[in-house]
């Protein structure tokens, strides 16, 4: 891409800005990054594109919760799952982003590492939501704690905690209904679900993952902000990164809230989940 502009000139700056904008990094984060980069170019007297691009990668890598020196060569599994306790993972996010599918993928991943996983079907609202999770449970060979459609999600979660303890599971994943962050009553329902978990299990939920659709634009920043205020997010899952969207919203979110991207979704099958690593993510961004 930068072969076109060997030297650092206004055309290169515009090209860089365009790449960030069209990747959904957003105008505010792009501006900060470009300003930082201009300072470095002055300081280090850079005149060609290659070293500039390297500096860009370093800046973005630092924003994405790693600084140059600390990026591990191989991705390290970031999930807060410890032996000797019932670990609770709470999956949250707006409608249709991939929560239920990501729950199935995480289950597969944890099972293959020897964990005993139980699922809670806490989406008691949407048509066939419980059925959808039950199909995954059957395919994965894990119990899915559920009640009738229309029941109280907090009651399902309470049931699931008791079942997990009784059946000696070491991971409970709670799949919740899609909810727009702007809906006060739905965010209150999420608070209630969380209260049940914190009351019943010390330090629970150990992971609260916001599932984001990689095609989402700047609204993702609002989603992260509100869900973080209501549910103390511990990580992001960036689903549907197998499309043409670059998922640059995680740069904007990382810059503002420092919530780490833990996993990326690259398809609809249970194997299509990878631990996030900034290197491949950034190479894809700069195509």
């Amino acid at each position: 891409l930068f072969k076109m502009h060997g030297k650092v000139d206004e055309a290169l700056w515009e090209e860089l800005e365009d790449i960030l904008i069209t990747s959904d990094v957003g105008t505010a984060a792009t501006e900060k990054i470009i300003d930082q980069l201009r300072e470095i170019v002055k300081e280090k007297k850079l005149t060609t594109a290659e070293p500039l691009l390297e500096e860009m990668r370093t800046i973005l890598g630092a924003v994405l919760n790693y600084d140059g020196a600390d990026v591990p060569e191989e991705p390290v599994d970031p999930l807060n799952v410890e032996p000797g306790r019932l670990n609770v993972i709470l999956m949250v996010g707006v409608n249709g982003t991939g929560k239920t599918t990501s729950t199935a993928k995480l289950t597969h991943r944890l099972k293959s590492k020897g964990h005993k996983v139980i699922l809670a079907a806490a989406d008691t609202f949407r048509a066939a939501a419980i059925d959808q999770l039950l199909v995954w449970g059957t395919r994965l060979g894990v119990d899915v704690i559920h009640q009738n459609e229309g029941s109280d999600p907090a009651a399902v979660v309470f049931d699931a905690v008791n079942a997990a303890k009784a059946r000696k599971a070491d991971v409970l994943i709670v799949d919740t209904a899609g909810r727009l962050h702007s809906k006060v009553n739905l965010m209150e329902e999420l608070r209630k679900i969380r209260r049940v978990l914190t009351r019943e299990i010390p330090d629970a939920p150990h992971e609260t993952l916001l599932v984001l659709d990689a095609t989402t634009g700047q609204n993702a920043v609002n989603q992260a902000r509100t869900f973080n205020e209501v549910a103390n997010l511990t990580g992001l899952v960036l689903a549907k990164l197998d499309g043409t969207a670059k998922g640059g919203i995680v740069v904007a979110i990382s810059q503002e809230f420092q919530i780490p991207v833990k996993y990326i979704g690259l398809g609809e099958k249970i194997e299509d989940l990878q631990v996030f690593h900034p290197k491949p993510f950034l190479s894809a961004l700069f195509g």
């Binding site: 365009d18 904008i21 069209t22 990747s23 959904d24 957003g26 105008t27 707006v94 409608n95 249709g96 982003t97 991939g98 609202f125 949407r126 048509a127 066939a128 059925d131 959808q132 039950l134 199909v135 995954w136 395919r139 727009l180 962050h181 702007s182 809906k183 659709d213 095609t215 989402t216 634009g217 700047q218 609204n219 993702a220 609002n222 549907k240 197998d242 499309g243 043409t244 969207a245 670059k246 919203i249 609809e268």
Partner: protein, 292 residues
């Protein structure tokens, strides 16, 4: 607001005769930023800004509007014009059933919107039949059946082992036999880069010859909207757009991108999770929302 931001830029213009190119460029920098923040795709923003520029330069400064208000008026008018204009009603078949194909990316709201549109038409005297052709997603057929049940609308399905094409053919036959005058076909979510799935959709469209192919687009879609829309438009051909989840706080700039790139009108908007939450599209309301 955008008006205030532009006022700030153009405040020094009070009392001058016309808007010069320099004045307009300053104001349009704010417009560009606002449109990008609203998720309008960059290429569309650039083209749009040029269109507004042509109209605004040389404009006589009105006594009743400040220079900032004048620029915003041009931006707004351009936006409304771009997104409105063509007929947004549904195209009906000469002899029933009218066939409507619902397509789009994963999780955009196709299944939910299929139920909504069916109810919308039922309330207007139609006798709809739904066809469940998503044989991939777990419990997708069940999801459409539950909706059909809630709405008192029949759902045609052949389980997950039939091909989407055979399900479409069977549904059409049933519609003819039972006097259903509109057949709404719900399809599986697919990426515009999944060749096999796009081909599957192409084949279904060529055989069923739908009067409407509606691209269902999530209001929170960002820059990728141009890629999604152009690919669905080029590979499949769309007659209209349903934009969903406008009950949230997404600015919905994708509406402008999709319209600009495909020429297809936004016909309906989804404003909630219930089956009653569907409305016809209003370009002026959308323009205000995008401009913030």
């Amino acid at each position: 607001s955008l008006t205030e931001r532009i006022q700030g830029v153009l405040n020094k213009l009070r009392g001058r005769g016309k808007l010069t190119e320099a004045d307009v460029n300053d104001a349009l920098r704010e417009v560009r930023r606002a449109l990008l923040e609203a998720d309008v795709s960059l290429a569309v923003v650039k083209e749009f800004i040029n269109q507004v520029k042509t109209r605004a330069i040389g404009e006589e400064l009105w006594k009743s509007l400040t220079p900032g208000q004048l620029v915003v008026k041009h931006v707004r008018d351009c936006l409304v014009e771009l997104m409105g204009g063509t007929q947004a009603d549904l195209e009906l078949a000469d002899s029933p059933p009218t066939v409507i194909l619902m397509v789009g990316l994963h999780g955009a709201g196709k299944t939910t919107s299929t139920g909504k549109l069916a109810l919308f038409m039922k309330n207007r005297g139609f006798k709809p039949l739904l066809a469940a052709t998503d044989i991939y997603r777990p419990a997708a057929i069940k999801q459409l059946e539950v909706l059909g049940n809630q709405l008192g609308i029949p759902v045609y399905q052949l389980g997950e082992n039939a091909s989407p094409l055979n399900i479409c053919r069977g549904a059409y036959k049933q519609a003819k036999e039972n006097g259903n005058d509109v057949l709404l076909i719900d399809t599986a979510g697919r990426l515009h880069v999944e060749k096999e799935l796009m081909d599957e959709l192409k084949i279904a469209k060529e055989e069923m010859k739908p009067q409407e192919v509606l691209l269902v687009v999530d209001a929170m879609t960002g820059q990728d909207a141009v890629n999604i829309a152009s690919q669905f438009s080029e590979q499949i051909g769309i007659t209209g757009v349903v934009m969903t989840k406008l009950d949230g706080d997404a600015r919905g700039g994708a509406a402008l991108s999709v319209r600009q790139v495909t020429g297809a009108p936004i016909k309906y908007i989804g404003i909630g999770e219930k089956s009653s939450a569907l409305e016809p599209f209003h370009p002026d309301r959308m323009a205000s929302r995008i401009l913030g």
